[in-house]
């Protein structure tokens, strides 16, 4: 096939090739001059205040230097100027497995779930991330610049998650935060993954988690004691201790009401920071979720209803948002086709089902950034933040609108309309 044809499909071959030649692929290595870019949009959604009509975003050395109306923001000499109908922050996918779960879905490229043991908090996401997986480039071409990715749902504790930017040849280029959360799962999915071993029931799963958290608490206490009485180093307990001391939030995937309540119960007992994930039954236990004051990364809007997600609703995000809960959307985990979802389209369907345009856009920008602890860097267009932008030729949510350019850390990483 021709290079052009391949480019039309997947996308980034040509752009990446050009970038490699220019020597600009990779992280913001100190001393490497970033391209200087100005983005002018008929409407600029900064996610920090009202949208700006005919706005300009100046990106200098990879960071946003200025944002404002074109009438009052001067574009410095020599800056590359990109224009678009609509400009948003680079999109933030609040929960993905991309990079660990590869596009091929063969046994050789699925590293999001290790089944040897139902509790393995020591597994680090950065040790399994394939920055060159086709899906990373695909999501980047669809405007996603920040991914919260890592170990997937399916084990009581499947491992750690991290935050990456959707660029780079390897993890070193991409990494933003090496340990972001620890991924827990409650529910039927776990029992079927580990059958005939424990946990064979929901209750057993919770008991196993409590036991391990008690151990971790004990481990942490002994580590504070006299040096000769400290237990041997245990990577798993060490990680859970960081959950218990509030360093790492517990990301608990729970779809059914009993599992959501169990997650809240664990949080109350151990006092860790909880981020609720999935929550297909959220509307059935809304007062409890609200009272717990936990953020929720809602199931992909278009998740297939059935089994654990039988009660999933296109309006789950709206119900939570209306109740005052901090809500983000996610691409989630897909075992088959499509191998990943695109948060832009999940938010679009949420916008068509109760969320306002602004609320829906927040679930994949600033609110997603808040949930994953990256709102000081990304998620909105404000001075000092990373120069991550997505450029559209119309309403970003419309099926017929294209993502026409993506700027990441001040570099134009995609400029074919898709």
């Amino acid at each position: 096939m021709s290079v052009a044809a391949r480019d039309g499909v997947q996308g980034l071959t040509r752009v990446m090739a050009a970038a490699v030649i220019a020597g600009v692929v990779g992280g913001a290595a100190p001393g490497v001059a970033e391209a200087q870019v100005a983005v002018r949009g008929e409407t600029v959604y900064t996610m920090a205040g009202a949208p700006i009509t005919d706005g300009v975003v100046i990106v200098t050395d990879g960071r946003i230097a200025e944002v404002g109306p074109a009438a009052s923001v001067r574009i410095p000499q020599g800056y590359r100027v990109l224009t678009a109908k609509v400009v948003t922050p680079g999109l933030v996918d609040a929960h993905s497995v991309v990079g660990l779960a590869g596009a091929l879905a063969t046994n050789n490229d699925q590293d999001q779930l290790e089944r040897s043991n139902p509790i393995q908090p020591e597994l680090r996401a950065l040790d399994a991330y394939n920055a060159e997986d086709k899906l990373v480039g695909y999501l980047r071409s669809m405007g996603v610049t920040t991914l919260h990715t890592g170990h997937g749902p399916g084990a009581l504790v499947s491992g750690q998650t991290m935050v990456v930017r959707t660029v780079g040849d390897h993890i070193g280029d991409a990494l933003v935060d090496s340990a972001t959360m620890v991924a827990f799962t409650l529910g039927q999915g776990v029992t079927s993954n580990f059958s005939p071993r424990s946990p064979g029931t929901r209750a057993k799963g919770v008991a196993m988690l409590r036991e391990q958290l008690v151990k971790a608490r004990d481990y942490a206490r002994k580590q504070q004691g006299p040096e000769d009485k400290r237990p041997a180093r245990d990577l798993g307990l060490e990680t859970l201790a960081r959950v218990l001391d509030g360093t790492l939030p517990a990301l608990i995937t729970a779809q059914r009401a009993p599992d959501i309540l169990a997650a809240l119960r664990l949080q109350q007992e151990f006092g860790f920071r909880l981020v609720l994930d999935g929550a297909a039954d959220a509307q059935l236990v809304l007062p409890e979720i609200v009272a717990a004051k936990v953020p929720v990364i809602v199931h992909p809007t278009m998740v297939r209803p059935g089994g654990e997600t039988a009660n999933a609703s296109l309006e789950t995000a709206k119900a939570l948002r209306d109740a005052g809960v901090l809500v983000a959307l996610q691409s989630g985990f897909e075992g088959y086709v499509p191998k990943t979802r695109v948060v832009l389209w999940e938010a679009a369907v949420a916008a068509a089902n109760g969320l306002t345009f602004d609320q829906a856009l927040r679930t994949i920008t600033i609110d997603a950034a808040r949930v994953i602890g990256q709102d000081r860097r990304v998620g909105s267009l404000e001075r000092g933040k990373d120069g991550d932008l997505a450029l559209f030729d119309g309403d970003p949510f419309e099926y017929t609108t294209h993502v026409c350019a993506v700027v990441l850390g001040g570099r134009v990483v995609s400029e074919v309309c898709r």
């Binding site: 096939m1 596009a103 278009m302 209803p305």
Partner: protein, 438 residues
């Protein structure tokens, strides 16, 4: 929506009274004020659609004559288009062939469809009015497909397009190549073996057909009845269309090569790498039904799937349709296929044609459905806005002049939106031959 009213009525009325009831006058419905997209013909602003009984009797501009006594629906600001034709679905939960052999053309999926499956109601909520329900892709030939209309019904007979399953052709024949049908013997281990097995089957079918012909109606000379051979005889006679699951560019050409050798009528299904061989498909004159997937991959042979397929096929002059492969994608979101097709370069007209008329033609149902024309079945949708917009909802779905989905009805709305108790079953796509989807 299920006709619960019927059940209630039968409790109140002695059963013997029911058959004696006078046949009701066909009801007449008039829809006024909407933008009508007839698909065949230009859009009509402020149009009028007249339905009598199960049939469309008139489609025209404002001022079109309206029969007296009609129920008038004011649908100003709405959009009316034909019901969607899904050329490849697994709603109803039916499986076809089992694991005993890779080709089982005698198996009918119609014997396994549950019409009370709520997947069918979700499809109504998504605007699907006709579906080709297929057995799975884990076989070279997994059985006979069933063409259904998504009427509210109690039994399959209420939904089937045909009236008599013994004397009519009620669907197509599902075939597949690529990696899904591969497995341990007797399943094929390679692509070449897959083609050899299929060729061998069609050679036998031809011989059987020849013996039937030679018997010239003399029952003493007829071959022993063979249900698979009979179905394949319908395939060879061009009465039963082969719906061929295929992904990779070379597999697409293999399906066309089989068609060339045996002369059956072929519809390519999925066609993930259509963009690589669009010209070849065009030259072969084979229709293609594609699927819109949110991201590439999920399995090796779908790694290059692209939403540009529709545009590439349109450019090559291929009759192009869409399908859900429900539950691979969800029928509730079927309409987005057109929007995303246009995003990737299809014309608006061809994208909407692909959702309706193209599918009807692929299922040999284009005389009855697929467009809004006088004389055709009254299968249509009332949309809240433009069919290509994400913000548009299917407000009503009508099949044969009966409303089967109404977003205003809370029960129906739940099938569209989801929520507690909305999904009691799930249509799982069966790939029996696949090991870990490799």
């Amino acid at each position: 929506m299920r006709p619960l009213v019927l059940a209630a009525a039968s409790l109140l009325l002695p059963g013997s009274l029911l058959p004696a009831q006078q046949p009701a006058q066909p009801s007449v419905h008039v829809f006024r004020g909407a933008t009508i997209l007839p698909i065949v013909g230009a859009p009509i602003e402020n149009g009028v659609l007249v339905v009598r009984g199960t049939t469309i009797v008139r489609v025209g501009p404002a001022g079109t004559a309206v029969p007296a006594g009609a129920t008038v629906h004011d649908v100003a600001g709405k959009v009316i288009m034909p019901g969607l034709v899904d050329t490849h679905s697994h709603i109803g939960g039916g499986s076809g062939a089992d694991r005993s052999s890779p080709m089982q053309g005698g198996v009918r999926v119609l014997d396994a469809i549950d019409v009370r499956s709520d997947g069918i109601q979700r499809a109504q909520a998504g605007g699907v009015t006709v579906a080709n329900v297929m057995p799975g892709s884990g076989h070279l030939m997994s059985g006979q497909t069933a063409y259904i209309k998504l009427r509210d019904g109690r039994t399959l007979a209420d939904l089937l397009v045909c009236r008599d399953v013994l004397t009519e052709v009620c669907g197509g024949m599902k075939m597949a190549n690529g990696t899904n049908p591969r497995g341990q013997p007797p399943f094929p281990g390679t692509r070449a073996k897959s083609v050899a097995l299929a060729r061998d089957k069609y050679v036998k079918a031809r011989e059987y057909q020849a013996r039937v012909k030679a018997a010239a109606g003399d029952s003493t000379k007829l071959p022993t009845r063979d249900l698979e051979m009979e179905a394949l005889g319908e395939v060879l006679a061009g009465k039963r269309v082969v719906h061929f699951h295929t992904h990779r560019h070379d597999d697409i050409l293999s399906a066309i090569r089989l068609r060339d050798e045996f002369g059956f009528r072929l519809v390519l299904q999925h066609v993930s790498e259509a963009w690589k061989v669009a010209d070849e498909i065009g030259k072969a004159g084979v229709p293609a039904s594609i699927i819109v997937i949110d991201a590439p991959g999920g399995k090796e042979e779908a790694i290059d799937v692209s939403i540009t397929n529709g545009a590439a096929l349109e450019k090559a002059g291929v009759l192009t349709g869409f399908h859900t492969d429900d539950g691979v994608t969800d029928s509730r979101f079927f309409l987005r296929s057109a929007g995303l097709g246009v995003r990737a370069g299809m014309s608006r007209d061809k994208a909407l044609y692909a959702m309706t008329m193209a599918g009807a033609r692929m299922l040999d149902l284009d005389k009855r459905v697929g467009s809004l024309e006088a004389g055709k079945d009254a299968d249509f949708l009332v949309l809240s806005g433009d069919p290509l917009s994400v913000y548009t909802h299917v407000e009503q779905t009508w099949v044969d002049g009966a409303k089967v989905f109404d977003r205003k009805d809370p029960k129906d709305r739940r099938f569209a939106v989801g929520g507690e108790g909305a999904a009691t079953d799930q249509t799982l796509h069966v790939h029996e031959g696949m090991e870990d989807h490799e």
